[in-house]
Amino acid sequence: MSQVELKELSVSVGAKALVANVSLAIEAGTWCTIIGPNGAGKTSLVEAVAGLRPPSHGSVSISGRLLSEMNERERARTVALVPQHPVVPSGMTVYDYVALGRIAYHGLFRAASPDDRRITDSVLERLSLDEFRDRDVITLSGGERQRMVLGRAFAQSTMVIVLDEPITGLDLRHQMELLELLKSEVAECGLTVVATLHDLTLAGQFADRLVLLDRGEVVLDGPAAVVVRSDELASRYGMNLRVVDVDGADVVVPVRR
């Protein structure tokens, strides 16, 4: 049984199909990155996987259970989301922000249990956020802030994490750090990652599998090394792309025509 399974998934707004008839099965403990040009439907697809957009056709199931048959709390204990533009609520401490991930466990009318607090503490430690715990969230830098949002998703203790452009706006070091953190969770805890990324080089280096989406449809789907070398990839982006091998890693570079 696959960890995440999309069956003939379509997402529409009005008459316009943002995601059209996508079927994917993603194995537990693997990293699947969705790539594609702007407007390809990547965000709609990951929002459907996170259960935030009801499919207009087809279904999403995680661990064999349909998302549409779960209530909000069950869903939040099944799949966590790192959104593209997270809201940063000024005046909240970093600890309280990460602890929001435990709401689905202790509920809206009960305080966090000792277990919830222990998990929040361990996430803060794992993501080196401990020194910021009493700081106001708006005082963090971009890299620290994104780590904090990832921390909230980790605190949800789900087996699947969905990330929408998690490294946008971060400098190179913070981009790598964030992806490495995630990669180690995949390796150590069997986490399943579904992410969208614009950077094809990083997408290729971190994902087990790349899925190219264009106009809402899956165009290419395969191991990263194969997908980045495909002519189809270059043509969908309308660009001249070269793959350079640097110490065994694929680097995708655009070349002016």
Binding site: G51, L52, R75, S90, I103, L108, D134
Partner: protein
């Protein structure tokens, strides 16, 4: 204020000071007035009623305190507490610092209902006894219509609801203005009602609003944790496991019902619902688990304090309560705002 949100210790201090202020305001509401009565005598009288000591109040003084001032003071506590907590709740659920309890049409609906009742009796003295009932019906109808327009469909969000409230409010206000202009003889009485006053308070009106205020204020305060989560926006709160639509419905229903009950008893007292939660927020930070319960206390104290001023400074005539709340509240707010780093909602 540094980079850190307020500590527990500071919140505890603010809470204790608010409770002390509430006690002072409540006793002041009983002893201050044209007939000056000693606070100790009033407290002694209260104890004598449960069998401790002897009262030193005369029968007249006792009547003034317990039949005139006490119901007025208690109704003021209820009104201040409810308006403040409803305003704070609205600010949280709409994530909008300008939200007040009248946002979704409660004021316009109540105003139209009350105007109906007052205009109907023509030139008779005072306001008719069914004014509160019509005001209450008007308020709840207005909020229900707003909800049906802006809050029901799957694609609606907080903004559509606010816009629906604006539309419903302006429609009902224009109807109310028209009705008021048609009946020149009762304009003054309509106007006085619209400004809000505790002058007609009685133990009867206190018992009438008590169940609404008790239930609705408890629901609002209990929603504090949900509102804290919802400060990250609707989509993210849903992904964290919050049933956003259901929470929004329950919270808006409770705030509106409590506000409608208060408005129907005391008219449209402005400013408390918007200013008190903001003052509290500046003192204790942005968590609604702190803002809402402390707003209940501060709102109650503030309104009784304002009413004591309203009925004494120009005695025997009274200042409109809404005028005093703004006159006292605005400078206090500006003072705190200038002393503290502004905190966003």
């Amino acid at each position: 204020m540094g980079a850190n949100p307020p500590t527990r210790r500071r919140v505890a201090i603010v809470a204790m000071l608010s409770i002390a202020g509430l006690c002072v305001a409540a006793v002041g509401g009983l002893v201050i007035g044209p007939t000056s009565i000693s606070a100790w005598h009033v407290i002694g009288d209260a104890f004598s009623r449960v069998g401790i000591g002897h009262s030193r109040l005369s029968a007249l003084q006792s009547t003034i305190v317990w039949q005139l001032r006490a119901p007025r003071m208690v109704l003021g506590l209820f009104a201040g507490a409810m308006l403040a907590v409803a305003g704070g709740t609205y600010q949280g659920v709409f994530r909008n610092p300008l939200a007040d309890p009248y946002l979704l049409g409660v004021a316009a609906g109540a105003g139209l209902g009350a105007t109906f009742a007052i205009v109907d009796v023509g030139h008779g003295p005072g306001t008719p006894t069914w004014t509160p009932l019509l005001a209450f019906v008007g308020a709840m109808t207005a909020v229900t219509v707003t909800w049906l327009i802006g809050g029901r469909s799957m694609r609606s969000n907080a903004a559509t609801l606010i816009l629906a409230g604006v539309a419903v409010s302006s429609l009902l206000t224009s109807a109310q203005t028209f009705l008021q202009q048609q009946s020149t003889g009762s304009i003054a009485r309509v106007y006085i009602w619209l400004l809000g006053s505790l002058a007609s308070a009685s133990w009867h009106s206190v018992w009438m609003v008590l169940p609404y205020v008790a239930v609705c204020a408890v629901v609002c305060v209990a929603a504090g944790r949900a509102l804290d989560v919802m400060s990250v926006g609707e989509d993210e709160s849903r992904s964290l496991g919050v049933p956003v639509r259901r929470v929004r419905f329950v919270v808006i229903a409770a705030s509106s019902l409590g506000t409608a009950a208060i408005v129907s008893a005391v008219g449209l007292i402005g400013f408390v619902g918007i200013i008190v939660p903001h003052i509290v927020r500046l003192l204790v930070g942005t968590s609604y688990r702190r803002i809402l319960p402390i707003s209940v206390i501060v709102g109650a104290a503030f309104l009784v304090f304002a009413d004591t001023i309203a009925r004494t400074v120009m005695a025997p005539s009274e200042l409109p309560l809404g005028v005093v709340t703004a006159l006292v509240g605005a400078p206090v707010f500006v003072l705190i705002l200038s002393l503290r780093r502004p905190v966003a909602v």
